[in-house]
C-alpha cells in the first residue's frame, strides 16, 4: 500500500492554504479530545474511505510492511456506528471514557487541483481509569476536499508504527 497517492505541488508553510489546513487538523484533533464525536463525523465526506492497515515487519526490499488488510476498514456508515456506540452507556472499552490527546506534527501539504493531500505524524496518548497511559504513533495521510471556507476529509490512511498494537485495543478514534 503506497503512502503517497498524489504527486501534488508542495504548499509552503508561509501560505494561507497551509495555515488553513494546519488549523483544520488541529481543530479536528480538539474535537476528538473533547468528545465532540458528532462534529468530528461531520468533517468526513459521505464517501469517506478510512483505512488503518495492518503493519508487518518486513525487509526494506519488501516495502514498509503495510498490508492490504486492515485494523480498521471504515466507510461513513461504519464510522457513524462507532460514534453512535460511544454515545451508549454500555461501550465498556470507553466507559468511563479514555482521556486522549491527539498530537499532530510534521505536516506536509500538497495540492493537485482541488484535491489536497495532507500528511502528518500523529501521536495519540490514551489515559483511562487509573492506568498508565498508552501511546499510538504513526503517520496519517489525508485527502482533503474544499468545503466552503474549510475542508472535508475524503480519504484517510492511518499508518501505524507498531506491528503489535500494545494499547489493549483500538477503541479510540484516529
Amino acid at each position: 500500500m503506497s503512502q503517497l497517492e498524489t504527486a501534488g505541488t508542495p504548499v509552503l508553510p508561509n501560505t494561507e492554504l497551509y495555515g488553513r489546513v494546519l488549523e483544520f487538523l488541529h481543530r479536528e484533533a480538539e474535537l476528538l479530545d473533547t468528545y465532540k464525536f458528532d462534529a468530528w463525523l461531520a468533517l468526513f465526506t459521505e464517501d469517506i474511505d478510512y483505512q488503518m492497515p495492518v503493519r508487518t515487519t518486513r525487509f526494506l526490499t519488501d516495502g514498509e510492511g503495510f498490508e492490504d488488510f486492515g485494523l480498521m476498514a471504515e466507510n461513513h456508515a461504519s464510522l457513524t456506528t462507532r460514534v453512535r456506540r460511544l454515545e451508549t452507556e454500555f461501550a465498556w472499552a470507553e466507559v468511563p471514557p479514555s482521556r486522549t490527546r491527539h498530537f499532530i506534527s510534521n505536516v506536509i501539504v500538497e495540492q493537485d487541483g482541488d484535491s489536497i493531500e495532507a500528511r502528518a505524524c500523529f501521536m495519540v496518548t490514551r489515559t483511562r481509569q487509573d492506568l498508565d497511559y498508552q501511546m499510538y504513533t504513526g503517520q496519517r495521510v489525508d485527502r482533503l476536499v474544499p468545503d466552503g471556507d474549510s475542508f472535508k476529509i475524503a480519504r484517510r490512511r492511518i499508518l501505524a508504527d507498531q506491528t503489535v498494537i500494545t494499547g489493549t485495543n483500538l477503541s479510540v478514534l484516529f
Binding site: M52, V54, T56, T57, R58, F59, D62, G65, E67, D68, F69, G70, L71, M72, A73, E74, N75, A77, S78, T81, R82, R84, R85, T88, E89, F90, A91, W92, A93, E94, T163, V164, I165, T166, G167, T168, N169, L170, S171
Partner: protein
C-alpha cells in the same frame, strides 16, 4: 541410590495443592491461578512445554521457501515450506549463539542466514555454511548435527499446522480425537479454507486464561456487548444466544453451536451464503450436515489456547450479514500480559464480493478495533487487576452454571452434548484439563 519417577508436585510453596484450589467438578476455581507467578512458571513448563499448539495455516505459506514467524507454545518458531514443498517448524534460533534467524513476520527464503556469525541453513533446516570454517579443527564442527531444531512433533488437520515440544505427546490426530469431527464442520465444510491477510496482533494486560475462558462463554454477550443491543445489532433478549448446544469432546477441547431464537432462520447454515451452503452435501456426512444446517454460529477451543469463532454479525454495519470465521490464539508473556493473535479465514470457493463483505464485517466488529471485541479486552484487564491482590486471591471464582444440566439425548455428534448454550459446562471441562495437565494426571478433561 535409585531414582524413583514421581508425578510432578501439585503443591505450591505455601502448601496449597492445585487440586485443592481448582475444583472444576464443583465449579470452584481459585482466583490465584490467574495471576500467581509460581503458577505461571508451572504453566510454561507443564502446558506450554508439553501440549499441541497452533502455528499457522497452509495458505499462509503456499510456495516453496515461504515462511512465517510465530510461537509454538511460547517458543519462537519459523514455519517454513522447503524447496521440496515439505512444511517444517523450527525453533527460530541459530545453533551457534541462539540468535533469531528469521527476523521478519513473513518472507520467502531459500536459505536462512544468521546475522551474528553468518551460519546459514537451507530451508529444510540443514546447516549449510558456518563462519570461518577453516578455523575449526577436526570434529569441532559437525554440520550434520547442527541443523535447526525442529519441534518434537508437527501435524496438520484441514491445513492447520500444530506443533509440540513434547516427543511423548500423543500424535495430533489422537489428541484432537473427537474434536476432528467438529473441525470437519467448521474447516472442511466447503472443501477448504484459506487465511485472508496477515494476523492482527495486539497485547492486553490480562492473564491469558481470562481470554481463553471468554471464548466458550455465551452469556456474557448481552451484558458485555450491550452497546450493540442498544444499536439494534443484537437482539434485545438476554436469552438470545442460549438456543443451541454445548459440546465436550474430551482432552479439554470444547465448543458450542447456536441456532438463535425459535423462528429466527438467520441462524442457519453457519451463516454462509447459499452457494457455499450447497457444498455441505459434498463434504459433510449427513450428521455433520444436519448440525451445519441447523446452527448459525459456533465457537470452539482446541486445548488450550486456539479458538474459532464462526459468527454472524447481525444488524446493520451496512447490512452485512455474511458470517465470518475468526481464528484466535493467546500467548502469555507474563502472568498478567498476553499477546493476542487474530486471523480471518474464508472458504476457498467464496466469491470476491463475498470475501469483501466478510472482511469488512470482521474488521469492524472483531479484532483490536472491533466494536464487539473492544469490550472483551476491557473485561479481561479488569478481571486481572481485581484478582491479583492478597485478599482477592484467597477466594474462588464461580463456575457453577449448569452443574446438574442434563445431557442431550438426540445430538448426532460425538462427545457429551448439552441442549443449551448458556452454562459453564465447557469452561469446567477446560479447567479439568488444566488440572490434568498441571498435575500429571491421566484424565481426559471431561470434568463437566
Amino acid at each position: 541410590m535409585t531414582a524413583t519417577p514421581t508425578a510432578p508436585s501439585t503443591r505450591l510453596r505455601n502448601g496449597d495443592a492445585l487440586e485443592e484450589i481448582v475444583r472444576p467438578q464443583e465449579g470452584l476455581i481459585s482466583r490465584r491461578i490467574f495471576t500467581d507467578p509460581e503458577v505461571f512458571e508451572l504453566e510454561l513448563e507443564r502446558i506450554f512445554g508439553k501440549g499441541w499448539f497452533f502455528i499457522g495455516h497452509d495458505s499462509e505459506i503456499p510456495e516453496p521457501g515461504d515462511l512465517v514467524t510465530r510461537p509454538c507454545g511460547i517458543d519462537p518458531v519459523v514455519l517454513i515450506r522447503d524447496d521440496e514443498g515439505v512444511v517444517h517448524a523450527f525453533l527460530n534460533s541459530c545453533r551457534h549463539r541462539g540468535m533469531r534467524i528469521a527476523r521478519t513476520d513473513r518472507d520467502n527464503a531459500t536459505f536462512l542466514k544468521c546475522p551474528y556469525h553468518g551460519w546459514s541453513y537451507k530451508n529444510n533446516g540443514e546447516l549449510l555454511n558456518a563462519a570461518c570454517e577453516n578455523h575449526y579443527g577436526e570434529g569441532e564442527l559437525v554440520k550434520e548435527e547442527l541443523g535447526l531444531i525442529p519441534v518434537a512433533q508437527l501435524g496438520s488437520y484441514h491445513g492447520l499446522w500444530f506443533g509440540t515440544w513434547n516427543e511423548h505427546a500423543p500424535p495430533l490426530d489422537e489428541w484432537l480425537g473427537d474434536m476432528r469431527w467438529y473441525m470437519d464442520i467448521i474447516f472442511g465444510r466447503t472443501g477448504g479454507l484459506e487465511i485472508m491477510g496477515p494476523p492482527q496482533i495486539w497485547e492486553v494486560d490480562t492473564a491469558w486464561k481470562f481470554a481463553t475462558d471468554n471464548f466458550t462463554d455465551n452469556f456474557h454477550v448481552f451484558s458485555s456487548h450491550h452497546s450493540l443491543v442498544e444499536l439494534g445489532m443484537l437482539p434485545n433478549n438476554p436469552d438470545f444466544a442460549a438456543y443451541g448446544h454445548m459440546i465436550v469432546p474430551g482432552n479439554g477441547h470444547i465448543l458450542h453451536f447456536v441456532q438463535g431464537e425459535p423462528g429466527n432462520d438467520d441462524y442457519r447454515g453457519l451463516g454462509l451464503s447459499h452457494d457455499l451452503r450447497a457444498k455441505f452435501d459434498e463434504f459433510l456426512t449427513p450428521e455433520q450436515k444436519s448440525i451445519a444446517d441447523d446452527h448459525g454460529y459456533s465457537a470452539g477451543t482446541i486445548w488450550p489456547n486456539f479458538h474459532w469463532l464462526q459468527l454472524i454479525s447481525a444488524g446493520d454495519m451496512e447490512a452485512h450479514e455474511e458470517a465470518f470465521l475468526n481464528l484466535r490464539m493467546e500467548t502469555p508473556i507474563t502472568p498478567t500480559r498476553t499477546r493476542m493473535w487474530s486471523w480471518l479465514a474464508v472458504d476457498k470457493d467464496a466469491t470476491p464480493e463475498y470475501r469483501k463483505k466478510v472482511y469488512e464485517t470482521y474488521v469492524r466488529t472483531f479484532g483490536p478495533s472491533g466494536i464487539f471485541d473492544q469490550d472483551d479486552m476491557e473485561n479481561w484487564e479488569d478481571c486481572t487487576r481485581a484478582n491479583i491482590g492478597p485478599a482477592a486471591r484467597r477466594y474462588t471464582l464461580h463456575h457453577k452454571m449448569g452443574l446438574k444440566r442434563a445431557t442431550a439425548t438426540d445430538w448426532p455428534g460425538p462427545g457429551v452434548a448439552y441442549p443449551d448454550s448458556y452454562g459453564e459446562m465447557t469452561q469446567r471441562s477446560w479447567y479439568a484439563q488444566w488440572l490434568t495437565s498441571m498435575t500429571g494426571g491421566n484424565g481426559n478433561g471431561r470434568g463437566a
